[in-house]
Protein backbone atom coordinates (compact mmCIF):
# COMPACT_ATOMS: atom_id res chain seq x y z
CA UNK A 1 0.00 0.00 0.00
CA UNK A 2 1.20 3.50 -0.76
CA UNK A 3 1.88 5.85 2.15
CA UNK A 4 -0.42 8.87 2.14
CA UNK A 5 1.59 11.95 3.11
CA UNK A 6 0.43 15.13 4.84
CA UNK A 7 0.84 18.30 2.77
CA UNK A 8 1.74 21.27 4.97
CA UNK A 9 2.87 24.88 4.44
CA UNK A 10 6.53 25.66 5.18
CA UNK A 11 6.94 29.42 4.98
CA UNK A 12 5.29 31.28 2.11
CA UNK A 13 7.18 29.63 -0.74
CA UNK A 14 7.30 25.93 0.12
CA UNK A 15 5.19 22.87 0.81
CA UNK A 16 6.30 20.06 3.07
CA UNK A 17 5.10 16.63 1.99
CA UNK A 18 5.49 14.61 5.17
CA UNK A 19 5.37 10.82 5.22
CA UNK A 20 6.38 10.34 8.87
CA UNK A 21 7.32 12.18 12.05
CA UNK A 22 9.39 9.29 13.45
CA UNK A 23 11.96 7.41 11.40
CA UNK A 24 10.84 4.60 9.12
CA UNK A 25 12.74 3.22 6.17
CA UNK A 26 9.49 3.04 4.23
CA UNK A 27 8.80 6.75 4.70
CA UNK A 28 12.41 7.59 3.84
CA UNK A 29 12.17 5.67 0.56
CA UNK A 30 8.76 7.12 -0.24
CA UNK A 31 10.22 10.63 0.19
CA UNK A 32 13.20 9.84 -2.04
CA UNK A 33 10.93 8.29 -4.66
CA UNK A 34 8.63 11.33 -4.74
CA UNK A 35 11.60 13.72 -4.91
CA UNK A 36 13.05 11.75 -7.82
CA UNK A 37 9.72 11.92 -9.69
CA UNK A 38 9.39 15.67 -9.11
CA UNK A 39 12.99 16.21 -10.22
CA UNK A 40 12.40 14.21 -13.39
CA UNK A 41 9.14 16.01 -14.24
CA UNK A 42 8.85 19.32 -12.34
CA UNK A 43 5.46 20.82 -11.53
CA UNK A 44 4.69 24.28 -12.96
CA UNK A 45 6.32 26.91 -10.71
CA UNK A 46 8.49 24.38 -8.84
CA UNK A 47 11.94 25.80 -8.06
CA UNK A 48 13.43 23.20 -5.73
CA UNK A 49 12.72 19.71 -4.51
CA UNK A 50 14.58 18.04 -1.68
CA UNK A 51 14.26 14.62 -0.04
CA UNK A 52 14.66 14.57 3.74
CA UNK A 53 14.59 11.80 6.34
CA UNK A 54 10.82 11.35 6.09
CA UNK A 55 9.53 14.22 3.96
CA UNK A 56 9.95 16.19 0.76
CA UNK A 57 10.48 19.95 0.56
CA UNK A 58 8.87 21.50 -2.53
CA UNK A 59 9.78 25.14 -3.03
CA UNK A 60 7.96 27.28 -5.59
CA UNK A 61 8.14 30.67 -7.25
CA UNK A 62 5.28 32.72 -5.86
CA UNK A 63 5.26 34.84 -9.01
CA UNK A 64 4.86 31.77 -11.25
CA UNK A 65 2.23 29.80 -9.35
CA UNK A 66 0.07 29.81 -6.23
CA UNK A 67 0.15 27.45 -3.31
CA UNK A 68 -3.31 26.17 -4.22
CA UNK A 69 -2.41 25.49 -7.86
CA UNK A 70 0.81 23.76 -6.87
CA UNK A 71 -0.97 21.67 -4.27
CA UNK A 72 -3.58 20.57 -6.83
CA UNK A 73 -0.85 19.57 -9.30
CA UNK A 74 0.96 17.72 -6.54
CA UNK A 75 -2.18 15.78 -5.54
CA UNK A 76 -2.53 14.63 -9.12
CA UNK A 77 1.09 13.50 -9.15
CA UNK A 78 0.67 11.64 -5.85
CA UNK A 79 -2.35 9.80 -7.22
CA UNK A 80 -0.45 8.57 -10.31
CA UNK A 81 1.07 5.08 -10.14
CA UNK A 82 4.67 5.12 -8.86
CA UNK A 83 7.47 4.79 -11.39
CA UNK A 84 10.64 2.75 -10.81
CA UNK A 85 13.40 4.67 -9.02
CA UNK A 86 16.62 5.45 -10.88
CA UNK A 87 19.48 3.03 -10.12
CA UNK A 88 21.32 4.23 -7.02
CA UNK A 89 25.04 5.00 -7.08
CA UNK A 90 27.25 2.65 -5.03
CA UNK A 91 30.40 3.76 -3.22
CA UNK A 92 33.11 1.82 -1.40
CA UNK A 93 34.88 4.01 1.19
CA UNK A 94 38.16 2.97 2.85
CA UNK A 95 38.18 3.71 6.58
CA UNK A 96 40.14 2.84 9.71
CA UNK A 97 38.50 2.08 13.04
CA UNK A 98 39.26 2.29 16.75
CA UNK A 99 42.32 3.72 18.49
CA UNK A 100 42.67 7.54 18.09
CA UNK A 101 40.51 7.43 14.91
CA UNK A 102 37.54 6.01 16.84
CA UNK A 103 37.91 6.64 20.56
CA UNK A 104 34.37 5.42 21.37
CA UNK A 105 34.51 2.15 19.39
CA UNK A 106 34.94 0.08 22.57
CA UNK A 107 32.01 1.81 24.26
CA UNK A 108 29.78 1.34 21.19
CA UNK A 109 30.77 -2.34 20.95
CA UNK A 110 29.89 -2.84 24.62
CA UNK A 111 26.49 -1.18 24.12
CA UNK A 112 25.82 -3.38 21.09
CA UNK A 113 27.00 -6.52 22.93
CA UNK A 114 29.63 -7.31 20.29
CA UNK A 115 33.43 -7.36 20.21
CA UNK A 116 35.10 -4.36 18.54
CA UNK A 117 36.22 -6.58 15.67
CA UNK A 118 32.74 -8.00 15.21
CA UNK A 119 31.14 -4.53 15.30
CA UNK A 120 33.51 -3.18 12.64
CA UNK A 121 33.00 -6.30 10.52
CA UNK A 122 29.23 -5.85 10.78
CA UNK A 123 29.45 -2.17 9.80
CA UNK A 124 31.67 -2.96 6.80
CA UNK A 125 29.27 -5.71 5.69
CA UNK A 126 26.25 -3.37 5.74
CA UNK A 127 25.25 -1.53 2.61
CA UNK A 128 24.23 1.84 4.06
CA UNK A 129 21.71 4.13 2.38
CA UNK A 130 22.19 7.90 2.35
CA UNK A 131 18.97 8.71 4.24
CA UNK A 132 19.46 12.48 3.97
CA UNK A 133 22.15 15.15 3.87
CA UNK A 134 22.04 17.81 6.53
CA UNK A 135 23.26 19.51 9.68
CA UNK A 136 26.27 20.65 7.64
CA UNK A 137 26.51 20.90 3.83
CA UNK A 138 26.99 17.48 2.25
CA UNK A 139 26.94 15.63 5.57
CA UNK A 140 25.25 12.23 5.21
CA UNK A 141 22.96 10.43 7.62
CA UNK A 142 23.49 6.75 6.78
CA UNK A 143 21.42 3.74 7.80
CA UNK A 144 19.92 1.60 8.91
CA UNK A 145 22.10 -0.70 11.02
CA UNK A 146 20.77 -3.80 12.82
CA UNK A 147 18.59 -3.49 15.94
CA UNK A 148 21.47 -3.85 18.44
CA UNK A 149 22.97 -0.61 17.06
CA UNK A 150 20.06 1.24 18.69
CA UNK A 151 22.14 3.31 21.13
CA UNK A 152 21.46 6.79 22.46
CA UNK A 153 23.76 9.76 21.98
CA UNK A 154 26.38 10.22 24.71
CA UNK A 155 25.47 12.36 27.70
CA UNK A 156 28.68 14.32 27.27
CA UNK A 157 29.53 16.00 23.98
CA UNK A 158 32.85 15.40 22.28
CA UNK A 159 33.96 19.05 21.91
CA UNK A 160 35.21 18.62 18.36
CA UNK A 161 35.34 15.91 15.73
CA UNK A 162 37.15 16.46 12.44
CA UNK A 163 35.75 16.07 8.91
CA UNK A 164 35.88 12.40 7.91
CA UNK A 165 34.94 11.11 11.38
CA UNK A 166 32.56 8.11 11.33
CA UNK A 167 30.12 8.27 14.25
CA UNK A 168 27.06 6.31 15.35
CA UNK A 169 23.81 6.62 17.33
CA UNK A 170 20.19 5.42 16.88
CA UNK A 171 21.09 2.70 14.28
CA UNK A 172 22.57 5.37 12.01
CA UNK A 173 26.00 6.60 10.96
CA UNK A 174 26.90 10.26 10.51
CA UNK A 175 30.04 10.89 8.48
CA UNK A 176 31.09 14.39 9.51
CA UNK A 177 31.61 16.94 6.74
CA UNK A 178 32.79 19.83 8.91
CA UNK A 179 34.40 20.20 12.35
CA UNK A 180 31.69 19.96 14.99
CA UNK A 181 30.91 19.10 18.59
CA UNK A 182 28.81 15.92 18.79
CA UNK A 183 27.12 13.46 21.10
CA UNK A 184 27.50 10.64 18.56
CA UNK A 185 30.16 7.99 19.27
CA UNK A 186 33.23 8.09 17.04
CA UNK A 187 34.07 4.67 15.56
CA UNK A 188 36.70 5.58 12.99
CA UNK A 189 37.69 7.89 10.21
CA UNK A 190 37.95 7.99 6.43
CA UNK A 191 39.67 10.27 3.92
CA UNK A 192 36.40 11.01 2.09
CA UNK A 193 35.31 14.62 2.62
CA UNK A 194 31.54 14.81 2.01
CA UNK A 195 31.82 18.56 1.30
CA UNK A 196 34.77 20.09 -0.56
CA UNK A 197 33.93 23.80 -1.04
CA UNK A 198 36.60 24.39 -3.71
CA UNK A 199 35.77 21.36 -5.89
CA UNK A 200 33.72 21.72 -9.11
CA UNK A 201 31.09 19.46 -7.51
CA UNK A 202 31.57 19.99 -3.78
CA UNK A 203 29.04 17.32 -2.74
CA UNK A 204 30.38 13.75 -2.78
CA UNK A 205 27.03 12.11 -2.00
CA UNK A 206 23.33 12.61 -2.56
CA UNK A 207 20.21 11.17 -0.93
CA UNK A 208 19.55 7.60 -2.06
CA UNK A 209 23.22 6.74 -2.69
CA UNK A 210 24.53 3.45 -1.26
CA UNK A 211 27.78 3.35 0.66
CA UNK A 212 29.90 0.62 2.23
CA UNK A 213 32.99 1.10 4.37
CA UNK A 214 36.00 -1.12 3.75
CA UNK A 215 38.56 -1.58 6.51
CA UNK A 216 42.00 -0.04 5.97
CA UNK A 217 44.93 0.73 8.24
CA UNK A 218 45.43 4.10 9.93
CA UNK A 219 48.60 4.78 7.85
CA UNK A 220 46.66 3.99 4.63
CA UNK A 221 43.96 6.52 5.58
CA UNK A 222 46.64 9.07 6.56
CA UNK A 223 48.28 8.59 3.15
CA UNK A 224 44.94 9.09 1.35
CA UNK A 225 44.33 12.27 3.38
CA UNK A 226 47.82 13.53 2.57
CA UNK A 227 47.12 13.00 -1.16
CA UNK A 228 44.50 15.75 -0.83
CA UNK A 229 41.75 14.25 -3.02
CA UNK A 230 38.44 14.91 -1.23
CA UNK A 231 37.12 11.56 -2.53
CA UNK A 232 39.75 9.96 -0.28
CA UNK A 233 40.21 6.70 -2.19
CA UNK A 234 36.47 6.11 -2.56
CA UNK A 235 35.61 3.71 -5.36
CA UNK A 236 32.38 4.08 -7.25
CA UNK A 237 31.21 0.60 -7.96
CA UNK A 238 28.96 -0.25 -10.89
CA UNK A 239 28.38 -3.81 -9.73
CA UNK A 240 25.04 -4.60 -8.18
Amino acid sequence: MMLAPEILPLGLDALLIRYATTFSERANRAAQALAARLEAAPLPGQTEVSAGLGSVLLRFDREATTRAALQAALQERLAAPPEPLPEPRHFLVPACFGDTAGPQLAEAAALAGRSETALVAELCATELHVLALGFAPGQPYLGMLPEHWQMPRMDRLTPRVEPGTITTAIRQIVLFAAPSPTGWRALGRCALRPFAPGAPNPFALRPGDRLRFTSASAPEIAALEAAGDPMGGTIRSFLK
Binding site: L12, L16, T21, S50, G52, R62, E63, P137
Partner: protein
Protein backbone atom coordinates in the same frame (compact mmCIF):
# COMPACT_ATOMS: atom_id res chain seq x y z
CA UNK B 1 36.99 49.81 -14.83
CA UNK B 2 37.07 46.93 -12.38
CA UNK B 3 38.18 48.18 -9.02
CA UNK B 4 39.10 46.89 -5.64
CA UNK B 5 37.82 47.68 -2.19
CA UNK B 6 40.88 47.97 -0.02
CA UNK B 7 40.12 46.98 3.54
CA UNK B 8 42.11 49.43 5.66
CA UNK B 9 40.57 48.28 8.93
CA UNK B 10 37.58 46.40 10.31
CA UNK B 11 35.68 46.79 13.56
CA UNK B 12 33.61 43.57 13.40
CA UNK B 13 33.30 40.21 11.60
CA UNK B 14 32.37 41.59 8.20
CA UNK B 15 31.34 39.12 5.49
CA UNK B 16 30.36 39.26 1.83
CA UNK B 17 26.65 38.44 1.49
CA UNK B 18 24.14 38.33 -1.34
CA UNK B 19 20.69 36.74 -1.64
CA UNK B 20 22.17 33.31 -0.94
CA UNK B 21 22.26 29.91 -2.64
CA UNK B 22 18.80 28.51 -3.19
CA UNK B 23 18.57 25.02 -4.63
CA UNK B 24 20.94 22.98 -2.45
CA UNK B 25 18.67 22.00 0.43
CA UNK B 26 18.79 18.35 -0.65
CA UNK B 27 22.56 18.51 -0.21
CA UNK B 28 22.28 19.86 3.32
CA UNK B 29 23.05 23.45 2.36
CA UNK B 30 20.41 26.04 3.31
CA UNK B 31 20.13 29.17 1.12
CA UNK B 32 21.85 31.50 3.65
CA UNK B 33 22.72 34.99 2.40
CA UNK B 34 22.18 38.41 3.97
CA UNK B 35 20.66 38.48 7.47
CA UNK B 36 18.54 41.50 6.45
CA UNK B 37 17.60 40.76 2.84
CA UNK B 38 15.49 43.89 2.62
CA UNK B 39 18.62 46.01 3.07
CA UNK B 40 20.07 44.48 -0.13
CA UNK B 41 16.88 45.24 -2.08
CA UNK B 42 16.96 48.81 -0.72
CA UNK B 43 20.54 49.14 -1.95
CA UNK B 44 19.53 47.88 -5.40
CA UNK B 45 16.72 50.45 -5.51
CA UNK B 46 19.05 53.28 -4.45
CA UNK B 47 21.66 52.26 -7.03
CA UNK B 48 19.02 51.75 -9.74
CA UNK B 49 20.05 48.13 -10.33
CA UNK B 50 17.80 45.36 -11.70
CA UNK B 51 18.58 43.14 -8.68
CA UNK B 52 20.83 43.18 -5.61
CA UNK B 53 24.53 42.37 -5.94
CA UNK B 54 26.92 41.07 -3.30
CA UNK B 55 27.57 43.54 -0.48
CA UNK B 56 29.52 43.84 2.76
CA UNK B 57 27.46 42.83 5.79
CA UNK B 58 28.73 44.67 8.87
CA UNK B 59 27.46 43.49 12.28
CA UNK B 60 27.25 46.38 14.80
CA UNK B 61 30.19 48.30 13.31
CA UNK B 62 31.90 48.85 9.98
CA UNK B 63 35.48 49.63 9.11
CA UNK B 64 37.68 51.75 6.86
CA UNK B 65 37.68 51.16 3.13
CA UNK B 66 39.17 52.68 -0.01
CA UNK B 67 37.97 52.11 -3.57
CA UNK B 68 40.63 51.96 -6.30
CA UNK B 69 38.07 53.18 -8.86
CA UNK B 70 35.23 55.68 -8.50
CA UNK B 71 31.87 54.03 -7.89
CA UNK B 72 28.52 54.70 -6.38
CA UNK B 73 27.90 52.98 -3.08
CA UNK B 74 24.71 52.47 -1.07
CA UNK B 75 24.53 52.38 2.71
CA UNK B 76 21.53 50.43 4.04
CA UNK B 77 20.39 48.34 6.99
CA UNK B 78 21.34 49.28 10.56
CA UNK B 79 22.21 53.01 10.43
CA UNK B 80 25.90 53.61 11.12
CA UNK B 81 27.96 56.77 11.26
CA UNK B 82 29.65 57.03 7.88
CA UNK B 83 32.18 59.46 6.45
CA UNK B 84 33.97 59.97 3.18
CA UNK B 85 37.24 61.84 3.68
CA UNK B 86 35.87 63.12 6.98
CA UNK B 87 32.52 64.35 5.63
CA UNK B 88 29.32 62.74 6.84
CA UNK B 89 27.51 60.40 4.42
CA UNK B 90 23.74 60.03 4.77
CA UNK B 91 22.56 56.49 5.57
CA UNK B 92 19.80 54.88 3.45
CA UNK B 93 21.32 56.69 0.54
CA UNK B 94 23.61 56.23 -2.44
CA UNK B 95 26.79 58.28 -2.92
CA UNK B 96 29.42 58.61 -5.62
CA UNK B 97 32.80 57.88 -4.04
CA UNK B 98 35.92 59.09 -5.83
CA UNK B 99 38.84 56.71 -6.36
CA UNK B 100 41.18 56.68 -3.40
CA UNK B 101 38.79 58.40 -0.98
CA UNK B 102 38.65 56.94 2.52
CA UNK B 103 35.24 55.62 3.60
CA UNK B 104 34.89 55.27 7.34
CA UNK B 105 31.92 53.42 8.82
CA UNK B 106 31.55 53.47 12.58
CA UNK B 107 29.24 51.87 15.11
CA UNK B 108 25.54 51.19 14.46
CA UNK B 109 23.23 53.71 16.10
CA UNK B 110 20.39 51.16 16.12
CA UNK B 111 19.91 47.63 14.82
CA UNK B 112 22.65 45.11 14.07
CA UNK B 113 23.49 44.62 10.39
CA UNK B 114 24.60 47.52 8.18
CA UNK B 115 25.36 47.00 4.49
CA UNK B 116 27.83 48.64 2.13
CA UNK B 117 26.84 47.88 -1.47
CA UNK B 118 28.68 48.87 -4.64
CA UNK B 119 26.87 49.74 -7.84
CA UNK B 120 28.70 47.05 -9.83
CA UNK B 121 28.53 44.51 -7.01
CA UNK B 122 31.39 42.84 -5.19
CA UNK B 123 32.98 40.38 -7.60
CA UNK B 124 34.58 37.80 -5.32
CA UNK B 125 34.48 34.27 -6.83
CA UNK B 126 31.08 32.59 -6.99
CA UNK B 127 30.74 29.22 -5.33
CA UNK B 128 27.58 27.19 -6.01
CA UNK B 129 26.04 30.16 -7.77
CA UNK B 130 26.55 32.79 -5.08
CA UNK B 131 29.11 34.86 -3.19
CA UNK B 132 27.34 34.62 0.17
CA UNK B 133 29.53 33.67 3.10
CA UNK B 134 28.93 30.55 5.17
CA UNK B 135 32.16 30.59 7.15
CA UNK B 136 31.59 27.19 8.77
CA UNK B 137 31.51 25.53 5.34
CA UNK B 138 34.40 27.50 3.85
CA UNK B 139 32.11 29.38 1.46
CA UNK B 140 32.37 33.09 0.70
CA UNK B 141 34.65 35.74 2.16
CA UNK B 142 35.28 36.87 5.73
CA UNK B 143 37.04 40.25 5.66
CA UNK B 144 40.44 40.89 7.20
CA UNK B 145 42.45 44.10 7.29
CA UNK B 146 44.68 44.43 4.24
CA UNK B 147 42.37 42.45 1.91
CA UNK B 148 41.46 43.69 -1.56
CA UNK B 149 38.06 42.62 -2.84
CA UNK B 150 37.26 43.11 -6.53
CA UNK B 151 34.13 44.93 -7.62
CA UNK B 152 32.58 45.28 -11.06
CA UNK B 153 32.46 48.72 -12.69
CA UNK B 154 29.62 51.08 -11.87
CA UNK B 155 27.16 50.69 -14.78
CA UNK B 156 25.89 54.28 -14.42
CA UNK B 157 28.15 56.38 -12.19
CA UNK B 158 26.43 59.58 -13.32
CA UNK B 159 23.12 58.54 -11.70
CA UNK B 160 22.34 61.14 -9.00
CA UNK B 161 22.53 60.18 -5.36
CA UNK B 162 19.24 58.96 -3.95
CA UNK B 163 17.80 58.25 -0.57
CA UNK B 164 15.04 56.21 1.03
CA UNK B 165 13.03 57.08 4.14
CA UNK B 166 14.57 55.62 7.31
CA UNK B 167 12.99 52.18 7.78
CA UNK B 168 11.30 51.36 11.08
CA UNK B 169 12.80 47.94 11.69
CA UNK B 170 15.61 48.62 14.14
CA UNK B 171 13.77 48.75 17.46
CA UNK B 172 11.76 45.53 17.59
CA UNK B 173 7.98 45.33 17.42
CA UNK B 174 5.44 42.76 16.33
CA UNK B 175 6.44 39.80 14.18
CA UNK B 176 3.62 38.19 12.23
CA UNK B 177 3.67 34.39 12.37
CA UNK B 178 2.06 31.71 10.19
CA UNK B 179 1.50 28.09 11.12
CA UNK B 180 4.16 25.60 10.12
CA UNK B 181 4.36 21.82 9.77
CA UNK B 182 4.90 21.36 13.53
CA UNK B 183 2.52 23.96 14.98
CA UNK B 184 0.01 21.20 15.80
CA UNK B 185 2.55 19.58 18.14
CA UNK B 186 1.98 22.47 20.57
CA UNK B 187 -1.27 22.55 22.51
CA UNK B 188 -3.54 25.61 22.10
CA UNK B 189 -2.68 26.97 25.59
CA UNK B 190 1.04 26.94 24.82
CA UNK B 191 0.45 28.72 21.54
CA UNK B 192 -1.83 31.28 23.17
CA UNK B 193 0.79 31.94 25.84
CA UNK B 194 3.51 32.48 23.21
CA UNK B 195 1.33 35.01 21.41
CA UNK B 196 0.37 36.85 24.61
CA UNK B 197 3.97 37.29 25.75
CA UNK B 198 6.37 40.15 25.25
CA UNK B 199 9.82 38.73 24.64
CA UNK B 200 13.23 40.32 24.95
CA UNK B 201 15.75 39.52 22.22
CA UNK B 202 18.68 37.47 23.52
CA UNK B 203 22.24 37.43 22.18
CA UNK B 204 21.91 36.42 18.53
CA UNK B 205 24.08 35.49 15.58
CA UNK B 206 23.39 34.91 11.88
CA UNK B 207 21.88 31.50 12.70
CA UNK B 208 19.24 32.50 15.20
CA UNK B 209 17.75 34.95 17.68
CA UNK B 210 16.80 33.57 21.11
CA UNK B 211 13.67 35.06 22.70
CA UNK B 212 13.81 35.51 26.46
CA UNK B 213 10.76 35.66 28.69
CA UNK B 214 10.01 35.41 32.41
CA UNK B 215 7.33 32.69 32.43
CA UNK B 216 7.48 28.91 32.27
CA UNK B 217 9.33 27.26 29.35
CA UNK B 218 7.32 26.36 26.23
CA UNK B 219 6.93 22.63 25.68
CA UNK B 220 5.69 20.65 22.71
CA UNK B 221 3.75 17.39 22.94
CA UNK B 222 6.31 15.59 20.85
CA UNK B 223 9.43 14.27 22.57
CA UNK B 224 11.43 12.64 19.78
CA UNK B 225 10.61 14.25 16.49
CA UNK B 226 12.31 13.19 13.27
CA UNK B 227 14.59 15.96 11.98
CA UNK B 228 12.79 17.82 9.24
CA UNK B 229 13.22 20.77 6.89
CA UNK B 230 13.71 24.25 8.32
CA UNK B 231 13.00 27.56 6.67
CA UNK B 232 14.37 30.94 7.79
CA UNK B 233 11.84 32.53 10.15
CA UNK B 234 10.93 29.26 11.87
CA UNK B 235 10.43 29.66 15.62
CA UNK B 236 12.25 26.69 17.05
CA UNK B 237 11.61 25.66 20.66
CA UNK B 238 14.82 24.32 22.20
CA UNK B 239 15.01 21.41 24.62
CA UNK B 240 14.97 23.94 27.47
CA UNK B 241 11.70 25.44 26.14
CA UNK B 242 13.14 28.69 24.77
CA UNK B 243 11.94 30.04 21.43
CA UNK B 244 14.67 30.81 18.87
CA UNK B 245 13.83 32.58 15.61
CA UNK B 246 15.97 30.96 12.92
CA UNK B 247 17.70 33.49 10.67
CA UNK B 248 19.46 33.40 7.29
CA UNK B 249 22.25 31.05 8.33
CA UNK B 250 19.99 28.37 9.80
CA UNK B 251 20.69 24.73 8.98
CA UNK B 252 18.69 22.88 6.33
CA UNK B 253 17.10 20.38 8.74
CA UNK B 254 16.59 20.33 12.48
CA UNK B 255 15.12 18.15 15.21
CA UNK B 256 13.56 20.74 17.53
CA UNK B 257 9.83 21.35 17.07
CA UNK B 258 8.85 24.69 15.57
CA UNK B 259 5.92 26.78 16.72
CA UNK B 260 5.41 28.56 13.40
CA UNK B 261 7.22 30.79 10.93
CA UNK B 262 7.83 34.56 11.05
CA UNK B 263 6.76 35.96 7.67
CA UNK B 264 9.59 37.14 5.37
CA UNK B 265 8.43 40.78 5.52
CA UNK B 266 8.99 40.84 9.30
CA UNK B 267 12.13 38.72 9.51
CA UNK B 268 14.48 41.74 9.12
CA UNK B 269 13.01 43.12 12.38
CA UNK B 270 14.18 39.94 14.12
CA UNK B 271 17.59 39.96 12.41
CA UNK B 272 18.12 43.59 13.44
CA UNK B 273 17.10 43.10 17.10
CA UNK B 274 19.83 43.81 19.64
CA UNK B 275 19.77 42.03 23.01
CA UNK B 276 16.92 43.39 25.12
CA UNK B 277 14.84 44.61 22.17
CA UNK B 278 11.11 43.98 22.85
CA UNK B 279 9.43 41.60 20.39
CA UNK B 280 5.92 40.16 20.18
CA UNK B 281 4.53 37.36 18.03
CA UNK B 282 1.18 37.72 16.27
CA UNK B 283 -0.52 34.76 14.57
CA UNK B 284 -1.97 35.52 11.13
CA UNK B 285 -3.56 33.38 8.45
CA UNK B 286 -1.65 32.16 5.40
CA UNK B 287 -3.86 34.33 3.18
CA UNK B 288 -3.14 37.44 5.26
CA UNK B 289 0.58 36.61 5.19
CA UNK B 290 0.58 36.23 1.42
CA UNK B 291 -0.69 39.77 0.97
CA UNK B 292 1.37 41.25 3.87
CA UNK B 293 4.57 39.71 2.53
CA UNK B 294 4.56 39.87 -1.27
CA UNK B 295 7.35 38.20 -3.27
CA UNK B 296 10.61 40.19 -3.09
CA UNK B 297 10.47 41.49 -6.69
CA UNK B 298 7.06 43.05 -5.95
CA UNK B 299 8.44 44.71 -2.80
CA UNK B 300 11.39 45.91 -4.87
CA UNK B 301 9.12 47.74 -7.31
CA UNK B 302 7.60 49.62 -4.36
CA UNK B 303 11.06 50.46 -2.97
CA UNK B 304 12.14 51.89 -6.32
CA UNK B 305 9.11 54.16 -6.27
CA UNK B 306 10.02 55.37 -2.76
CA UNK B 307 13.52 56.55 -3.76
CA UNK B 308 14.03 60.29 -3.98
CA UNK B 309 17.01 62.40 -4.94
CA UNK B 310 19.42 63.24 -2.18
CA UNK B 311 20.07 66.98 -2.06
CA UNK B 312 23.78 67.67 -2.02
CA UNK B 313 25.49 71.03 -1.90
CA UNK B 314 28.71 71.25 -3.92
CA UNK B 315 30.73 72.14 -0.80
CA UNK B 316 29.47 68.92 0.87
CA UNK B 317 31.15 66.80 -1.76
CA UNK B 318 34.48 65.58 -0.48
CA UNK B 319 36.57 65.90 -3.60
CA UNK B 320 34.84 67.72 -6.39
CA UNK B 321 37.75 67.14 -8.73
CA UNK B 322 37.45 63.40 -8.25
CA UNK B 323 34.04 63.38 -9.91
CA UNK B 324 33.27 63.37 -13.53
CA UNK B 325 31.00 66.35 -13.41
CA UNK B 326 27.97 65.39 -15.35
CA UNK B 327 24.85 67.45 -15.08
CA UNK B 328 22.43 65.68 -12.82
CA UNK B 329 24.89 64.72 -10.14
CA UNK B 330 24.53 68.06 -8.43
CA UNK B 331 21.37 69.81 -9.38
CA UNK B 332 20.51 71.26 -6.03
CA UNK B 333 16.87 71.74 -6.90
CA UNK B 334 15.58 68.29 -5.95
CA UNK B 335 12.68 67.73 -3.63
CA UNK B 336 13.82 66.99 -0.12
CA UNK B 337 12.42 63.49 0.22
CA UNK B 338 14.22 62.09 3.21
CA UNK B 339 16.42 64.61 4.90
CA UNK B 340 19.76 65.42 3.36
CA UNK B 341 22.90 66.13 5.29
Amino acid sequence: MTGFIEVAGIASKITVQDLGRPGFTAMGLAPGGAADRRALWEAAALLDLPAPGAALEMPLAGGRFRLTAASRIALTGAPMRAYCEGRALAWNASHLIPAGALIEIGAAEAGVYGYLSLAGGIATPERLGARATLAAAGLGTVLAAGMRLPFAPDPAAETPSRCLPTPARFSGGTLRVIEGPQTAFFDPQTRARAFANTFAAGPANRQGLPLHHDGAPFQSRSAALLSDFITAGDIQITGAGMPVILLAECQSIGGYPRLGTVIPADLPIAAQARPGTPLRLLPISLEAAESASPPEPAQFAALRRSCTSLIRRPDDIPDLLGYQLISGVVRGDEEDGCGSI
